[in-house]
């Protein structure tokens, strides 16, 4: 088994994530899962575009009156940076530097929490001014699209935290490296979806 072997930076494989069949299966299976997730978000995007600014007669909420780019810009920066820091973590994983992995994953988590806090504030603000989930078709589709992304962030944060705590003592092996690698793939996917949300929901919303 993988955990019986003690690796050094010299014997550590170039691609621990696909070093055995189990890893190859996880690697491929997770990519396929992300393919399905892409269709899932595509459906949400299509619905949002169809229902954007649609509501009961005389609704005053529009994308232009609602969205404020400065806040969203900060959120975008936090999440994009967190994707970069997770790349650093993977870089250290390839170099068999476990401390580096944990440190950069921790920074990723902190940035993720920053993003999440701002998103919660944003949602709270909308609800506060009357743009609730049930207010209109527009509000339902907006909260469902952006909220589903937010839920992915929550799950990703929980996942990475559990990974870091569980493996803090035992360090890197082929077995644990594969787990870190999959979590970081997931985190990148969350980031990519946000790029589309930023463009389609916020930028296009403020422009048109």
């Amino acid at each position: 088994m993988a955990e019986e072997v003690k690796y050094t930076p010299q014997t550590w494989p170039e691609h621990p994530e696909t070093a055995n069949l189990e890893g190859k299966n996880k690697f491929l299976g997770f990519w396929l899962f992300l393919g399905g997730e892409t269709v899932l978000f595509a459906s949400l995007f299509a619905t949002y575009l169809a229902l954007k600014n649609k509501g009961p007669e005389g609704m005053e909420f529009t994308t232009q009156s609602l969205f404020e780019l400065p806040l969203v810009f900060v959120m975008t920066m936090l999440l994009l940076t967190s994707s970069l820091t997770s790349v650093y973590a993977m870089y250290h994983m390839k170099n068999f530097n476990f401390r580096g992995v944990q440190t950069w994953m921790a920074i990723t988590v902190l940035l993720g929490f920053g993003f999440l806090a701002l998103e919660i504030y944003e949602f709270y603000h909308y609800v506060h001014i009357g743009f609730t989930y049930s207010q209109s078709a527009f509000s339902s589709s907006f909260f469902t699209l952006v909220g589903t992304h937010g839920l992915h962030v929550v799950i990703g944060l929980g996942w990475i935290i559990l990974l870091m705590l569980r493996n803090a003592k035992r360090g890197l092996s082929i077995y644990t490296a594969q787990k870190y690698y999959t979590a970081s793939l997931y985190w990148h996917f969350i980031d990519v979806v946000w790029v589309f949300i930023f463009t389609v929901v916020y930028l296009m919303g403020v422009m048109s």
Binding site: G36, L40, K54, G55, A137, T144
Partner: protein
Amino acid sequence: MSAIAQKKGFGSALWDWLTTVDHKKIAILYLASGGFFFVVGGIEAMLIRIQLAVPDNSFLSAGLYNEILTMHGTTMIFLAAMPILFGYMNAVVPLQIGARDVAFPFLNSLGFWLFFFGGIFLNLSWFMGGAPDAGWTSYASLSLYSPGHGIDFYALGLQISGAGTYIAGINFLVTIINMRAPGMTYMRMPLFTWTTFVASALILFAFPPLTIGLFFLIFDRMFGANFFDHTMGGNTIIWEHLFWIFGHPEVYILILPAFGIFSEIFAIFSRKRLFGYSAMVFATVLIGFLGFMVWAHHMFTVGLGPTANAIFAVATMAIAVPTGVKIFNWLLTIWGGSIKVTTPMLYALGFIPSFVAGGVTGVMQAAAPLDYQLHDSYFIVAHFHYVIVGGVVLAILAGLHLYWPLMFNTMLSEKLGKITFWFFFLGFHATFFIQHFLGLMGMPRRVYTFIEGQGWDLFNFISSMGAILMAIGVIVLVINIVMTTVKNVPVGNDPWKDGRTLEWAIPQPVPFYNFKRTPLVRGLDTFWIEKQEGNKEGMSYAEPLSDIHMPNNSFIPFVMSLGLFIAAFGALYNGEKAWAVPVLVIGLGITLASMATRSLKDDHGYHIHKEDLMDHKGGNY
């Protein structure tokens, strides 16, 4: 755990079934529960035909009829046809490609239990205030305003079982890509593996839109959202799009594995290599691809406009081409073959004309102007029963006979099997052929009764009589299964004597680790090649005897699915009962906690040592 035979008590046998991760046992679980739901859906069909046997009938009330009609369609598609096909995939595909198990045995078990709990949840609606009643398509304009909880059961139940299907799809994709034995190149994969592969890819991309559509329905009905409510800016057509973007590929998810089973049968019982193998593969992939381009042909009458209708009409007609390629290849496989008309072969021979008839009416409906006439009439009912029953169900019954010896090491009676076939086949045509004409005469679908003297009386009566013949056929099949199980005569290796692919080369009963040594695949129909060369063992090997790594059984998939099952009750009664939200939270908590347990607890499996393998003959325990 040891490989040595032990007699087990009922408790430990049950525990074994609840925790198993062995693809062969999960196959039996799929087959048994799919078979159960098949019988439930069949009883619902009989009730429908009894109600429609005579005009102005009052056997069922209008509301109850709607519920039975909805549950018949939903049950047959989601809980009977797909799971039974998954049963065959699980039983056969790993053996066909020379693998010891699927890529993710744990997820395989999870997929089954999600499907199972979803199906149970959906059917509990009968006992908890009424079943869904908006048709299996559950168009939002109807389902949003359906009183009671029927639609909630539909949306939540399908959500849970759909998650299971999605997981199973990914599992098969990875299994087929990564776990093929040495020499098993893509163009040497048996057709059933190929069709499983393409159907799994369709599942991967078709189920997420359904998930989203169902979530919209759940949120609209239970949590105050407004996706489909036009007074709040919503749009009910969104449901139709999402449903059919899923729904049309779903048809191919069902029919492609059916094609695969028939391709195996034609080659085995014509004792001839499948004609046009590469064209068959190409046609399978092309059907899968085109399957995503045609969903709006279900919505011609919605008013998407002539341009959209024209594009979708042409795309739909294009599917007839690869399907025709397949039909001709099957015919040419039989041509000049040394044919043995066994029960599976009988079903396969019956399949060709039945399915062609269903395909021809499909092309008729693809012509959008004609579809305006046919839409929502019994012509549509006749068409989709010709492709689903004439294609998928015949394949399921053929596959049951074909793969029964592989799954249970006994042989279903050929005599009773042929009796079943003739009752079922004649009953099927009697039931549905005449419905084409009922449709052309103007009878709309989904009506609970009709007024006499419109010229529909006799045809409806004939249709109901046909349904009785089908029921007799199924009863004979059940007797056959019971008798075969009671007699329990083992059949041994290569039960059909003409097996061509790896699954027939394996010792019977199949050892729980499948292959003692990973086989070397030397060509298409590798077992046939070995037999031709006089290899008594039936296989060449790619490796020396060594330790085999096996996964541990796990109870977590059951608990994970149970959590969602509990949570669904919370969602269902949200805003109505005080305990709803706590139950929702507890249920989701159980699922999340078991996910965390799975992630945090190491589970490396165990090894069977080669010394133990040496004199192990096979058999389960």
